[in-house]
Structures are given as structure tokens and as C-alpha cells.
Symmetry: C2
Subunit: 367 residues, 2 copies
């Protein structure tokens, strides 16, 4: 194998492929990137058995071939090379020689035959969405997936295509995040659960804007994100996702309209009095045109008043400030509406069109 | 006690005082900042028993008093307050109330009597230097102090005032860093060893430029850095510092003049093949107008040639690339001169005026 690259193209591609390299594995081959130049294109492939990435790299094939190379070493070398033409070639002992200007590295490679290729996936239905929107919709929901694996479905996000809308849902038992966007064109209805880890990586790799498209392909077991010259593949999570519709209610006893930044700043201040060990709630005392927020912990107490436009009954309700902060951070609206049913029922932060709904369970403060 | 501050002034001062707050201590009072408004000025004082900071804070004293407050909580609160007038007051139970706009915190304080005040230091000799120069001279030498405490003197830096020059020296047994600058005015000769930790904090707090001065006061046991409205005090390290002069030699067998960036980039690339567990050297093969640098480790090998102007014999010598990198990083010259005596004697990187000297011991590669 003998290839040449522009340094900047090479670095970009290694960076992408790195995202699906296992850091902790008992199989050393999974710590490698497969360089496949056996056909007419150069591909970098990585696979941690959950997430797979294949990216086509701009470069010239002087001699066809394939080799797997330790990803971390490869990345660190490429990162430090001067910005010039980089040559990679292998010898019969699978030593990979990387040359750039007067610099020359010899790194032991591994046989490409040992590398687990990505599964071939039947590309059935697909949707198209901008890179910007997909990144946004992931970041605006991913924080409320469950961290522990007790319930596998909670570690993923529901992607539901229905009536040419994409709805993304995540929940962890204490809160639900829902985002909806319209899709262009005709799309078949679909309901899949995608692992959160994969979505995090996808949002990290997607650096395009509103003009750059991603195609998302669904098969029965997999989902593929394809954009530019990169394909990210992940296995779906099996099982029937929670029936979220029945958890949502149109009713409310109290509605408050609040300046988002005021509430967020206040919750941020409150959260610093909360220690991991004693999870005290922020108590919201909602009266006619003000909400008094207070918290009282071993570290001290805080008391603050923010103004609101209220509709409905007065209410006293307690929340974990972290849950409020997570939701408020990703809402772009300046003014937000919060709907409360009772001090022991979830509240909803949502816009009029329900393009976003954040449901948060209160902390019982009547004890 | 009742005080008011502009938020930005308060935040700046808490930030400074934080630098001498103990993070790990068995004495909870050392985790506090002492707020002393018992006289005509407001002072924030912190003291981790090694380093002490006293900074005068712009603000208004409505009622005199003193209180100690948990530094981390105080800092986190102040950081999150809106940019407006902040009021602090204490009640008879030592509860500190912090108010800003509609936000109100109550934090338990501690008696100021428990706080260990900074020692009163006899200000004998002093030098004046710009904040920029002091920060530079620390950063250009601090990396070669010893990390472990086996030899206390090696954990500090020698500050030597002689003939109106300040010479700063650090060494760890494998290398020596020396920087010299001229001082304005007449200064008494002095030779003190200042703890490295204190100097790191000083360089972090000093944010002024070439127009901003620091006065450094020396006493028998302490050194004080005074600038703006802040004073940093630290105990000196006892003992006679190493006789560095006798380790320096004017002789050399080989001299190479090299482009600094070329050598630094090359050493950076070489270092990535070095693992903590196997410290392999970079071998420099110096011939007439080139240096071939090579390294060979379990991770792979590297080979690179850089051009040089050589004076003297050919030589093959090995170095720990980290030591080279540390020195090269802080040298501003584009071209550097390296002087070698033999493959088993230290090399020197120095400029013609000896404003800097970096001595590095080679790794014996003859084995």
C-alpha cells in the first residue's frame, strides 16, 4: 500500500475516524483505524462494535492495499506533522512508514483481515435534515437520557418520523425532553430507538451548518447517518419505547410566563448550595405576579424573587434545580411558559406549537 | 459588619484571594477567606500556612466588622451574581447575608478570631520589576524545579540579586534553568530560595503588563510580592542553594546553531513515541550541516533530519525529549545555540549574553 495525502485532509479524516475507536477494549484491533485502499477510494474505518464510522479520505493511491494502525499513535503523529504532503506506505512486515518533509515514522501495523468490517445494512427508509438541525435536536434532548443501564431503552432516544415530522424523545424517569421539527419531502413513518452514545458522537462530528445535509437511513436493526463523505452506523436499541403521549396532559392549574434568563440565572445560583449528598429542592412559591424561589441546605440558604405573568391558582412546588437548568439552557425563547398541575404532578415547559416540551417531576416538599 | 461592592471589583478580589485558600486541610478555617473591614479599608485575606494573600478591595464600609467565610461557596455565589451592587452583612450569629438585586443568600460565617493572620514581616531590601518580566522569568524557569520533596531546596527557585541583576535559577538534578534580567535602580545583593508553588501562584495572579510594577521585599524568612493593592507573602526555603556556577562550563567540543521551531517540532513528534514506562532517548547524530534525530521505542520509530550550522567535532548524543521541549518552549529566539562537551556531559542552550542558560544532562546511549 502506498498513499499520499494533503496533511489537512488527512488530519480531518483521522479526527472523524477516532470517534468510533474503542478506548477500553480487550480486543487491541478495535484500538485501530482500518485504512482500506483496496479499491478506487481511500477509506478510514473504525468500529467499537456499537458505533461504526467509515469516511472517504481525499488522497492518491499509488499502490493499493489495506492495513490497520493503532489509532491513537496515528492521530498523535498526524497532528504533529508539518502542513505538507504526507506519504503512507507499508512493507511486507506490515510496518507503516509515514513520511512528511524530512520526518519519517515507522509504526507497526496490523493485518486488515483481523479488523471487524461494518455490517452491510439494508437502506430502507430515509429522511434528510440539515446538519445544524440534527446537531441541535440531539443537544436539546440528550441530557435527559438515563446514565445507568438498568433500563436499556432509557439510554437511547426515540426518533419518531410521523406525518413528515421528526420527533425526538428522551427520558430518564424524572423528566422527559421532546423536540419536533418538520421534514422536507415525503417520509415513511418510522419509530426507532438510537443509543445516546452514538448520538453524542454524531453531534460532535457534524460540523456543518444550515446548508449541509445529513441523510438518515433506517433499517430494522441499524441507523446510518450519511453526510459529506462520512457514514456513521449504529445498532438500534430493541424494544418498544415508552408511551410518552399518555404522560403528557393538556390540563393545568397554573401557568406562568417567565423571562428564561432570569429563571436560569436564579436556578444556577440556587444549585451551588446543593451538594451531591443532600439533594434539596428549590421551592417555587408562585403568587400573582412574582415567584419566590428559595433553597435551604447545610451550606446556607438563598431567597430570590422573579417576576412572572401568572394564570390560574397560586402554588408552592419544589424542583431539583439541575433538571430545570438542563432544560432552560437549551431553550432559545426569551420568554417561556411553564404549566403546573399540582405540587406532586409534573410541570411542563413548552411553546405554543409544542416544538419543544420539557416535562419535569417535582420534588415532594409536603413531607 | 455591612459592606457594599461593585460586583466586578468583588469578583476580581475573591479570585485573587482564592489562590491561597487550602483545598486539602484538616483546619476548616483555612478553607475560608477572612473579610476584614475592622479599620478604614476592606481587606480579603487568605492563608494556607505556606502562602498568604492580602488584597484591598474597593467597596464601602457601612458598618465595620470582620468575618471568615467559606471561600469556595463565597466564590461560587459571587461568580453567579448579576453585575450590580452587592451588599454583605453579618448578624450576631455570624450568618453572612449576601444581597444583589432580588437575590439573597444566607451563609454561615466563622469567627475572624479563629483565622491565622499573616505574619508581620520586616521589609528590609526590595527590588522593583515589571509584572510582565516577573511573570516571564518565573514561567521560563519553573518547569525545572523538582516535583518530589526529597530535596526541599530543589522545590524552590533561587532568586539572586547581584550587581543590580536578578538571576533566577531552578534545577531538579537532570537539568538547570537560569534566567537573568537587569534591574533598574540600586539594589542590595540578596540570595533567597522561594517555594515553587508560591511562584506559580504569583505568576497566575500577576496579570499586568510592562507598565505595571511589582515590588519584591526580602526579609530573613519571608518574601513579599506587592502590586496594585495586593500583597502575596511566602516563607523562604531554608538552606544554602546549590553552587550552580561550578556546574557551568565555558568549554565545548561542538556547537550547533539551529532553528528553534524546527528542533521543537521534531522533539514534539519524537516525544509521542515515548511512554512513561520506557523512557527512550532521542538520539542526535550531529554531522557537518545536519542533525539526524531518531528514536526507537516499542511504539515505533522516527527518523528526521534538520539542518544546522556546526562548529567543532561530530557527535552522537541522546536526550530525554521532554527536557528539550520544556526549555525550547520558553526560549523566544528564532535561532538557538547548543553547546556540547561530550556524549556524557551536559549540553547548554544559551544566548551570547547569557540572559538564559538551559543545561540538560544527556541520556547515556553508549550502553
Amino acid at each position: 500500500m502506498k498513499l499520499t495525502f494533503d496533511h489537512s485532509e488527512l488530519l480531518k479524516s483521522v479526527n472523524i475516524a477516532m470517534k468510533a475507536v474503542s478506548s477500553k477494549t480487550t480486543m487491541p484491533i478495535l484500538e485501530c483505524i482500518l485504512i482500506d485502499a483496496s479499491a478506487s477510494e481511500i477509506k478510514f474505518i473504525s468500529n467499537d462494535m456499537e458505533l461504526g464510522i467509515e469516511t472517504v479520505v481525499k488522497g492518491t493511491i499509488l499502490e493499493k492495499g489495506r492495513v490497520a494502525i493503532d489509532a491513537k499513535t496515528f492521530f498523535e503523529i498526524v497532528r504533529r506533522l508539518p502542513d505538507n504532503i504526507v506519504m503512507m506506505e507499508t512493507n511486507e512486515n506490515l510496518i507503516v512508514r509515514i513520511t512528511c518533509e524530512k520526518s519519517k515514522f515507522d509504526i507497526p501495523g496490523r493485518s486488515a483481515d483481523d479488523f471487524p468490517y461494518l455490517p452491510v445494512v439494508d437502506r430502507k427508509d430515509s429522511i434528510r435534515i440539515t446538519q445544524y438541525s440534527l446537531r441541535q435536536i440531539i443537544n436539546q434532548t440528550i441530557f435527559s437520557i438515563a446514565v445507568n443501564e438498568n433500563n436499556k431503552l432509557m439510554t437511547g432516544e426515540l426518533f419518531e418520523v410521523e406525518n413528515n415530522n421528526l420527533k425526538v424523545v428522551s427520558l430518564d424517569g424524572h423528566r422527559i425532553a421532546i423536540r419536533r421539527i418538520e421534514l422536507g419531502g415525503e417520509c415513511a413513518d418510522r419509530r426507532v430507538v438510537i443509543p445516546g452514545k452514538a448520538l453524542s458522537e454524531v453531534s460532535r462530528i457534524l460540523d456543518g451548518g444550515l446548508e449541509d445535509q445529513v441523510t438518515v437511513y433506517f433499517s430494522d436493526d441499524h441507523v446510518i447517518f450519511e453526510f459529506d463523505r462520512t457514514m456513521i452506523l449504529t445498532r438500534l436499541i430493541d424494544g418498544e419505547y415508552f408511551n410518552v403521549a399518555q404522560m403528557l396532559s393538556g390540563d393545568y392549574q397554573t401557568k406562568t410566563v417567565i423571562n428564561k434568563q432570569d429563571l436560569l440565572s436564579c436556578m444556577n445560583r440556587a444549585s451551588l448550595l446543593v451538594k451531591e449528598s443532600d439533594k434539596m429542592p428549590v421551592v417555587m412559591n408562585i403568587t400573582d405576579d412574582t415567584i419566590e424561589l428559595s433553597i435551604n441546605t447545610a451550606m446556607g440558604s438563598m431567597d430570590e424573587t422573579i417576576s412572572t405573568v401568572k394564570d390560574g391558582k397560586d402554588m408552592v412546588i419544589g424542583f431539583n434545580p439541575k433538571f430545570m437548568i438542563d432544560a432552560l439552557r437549551v431553550i432559545e425563547d426569551e420568554e417561556i411558559s411553564i404549566y403546573y398541575m399540582s405540587p406532586i404532578a409534573p410541570c411542563f415547559i413548552k411553546d405554543d406549537n409544542e416544538n419543544y416540551i420539557y416535562l419535569i417531576l417535582p420534588v415532594n416538599i409536603s413531607r
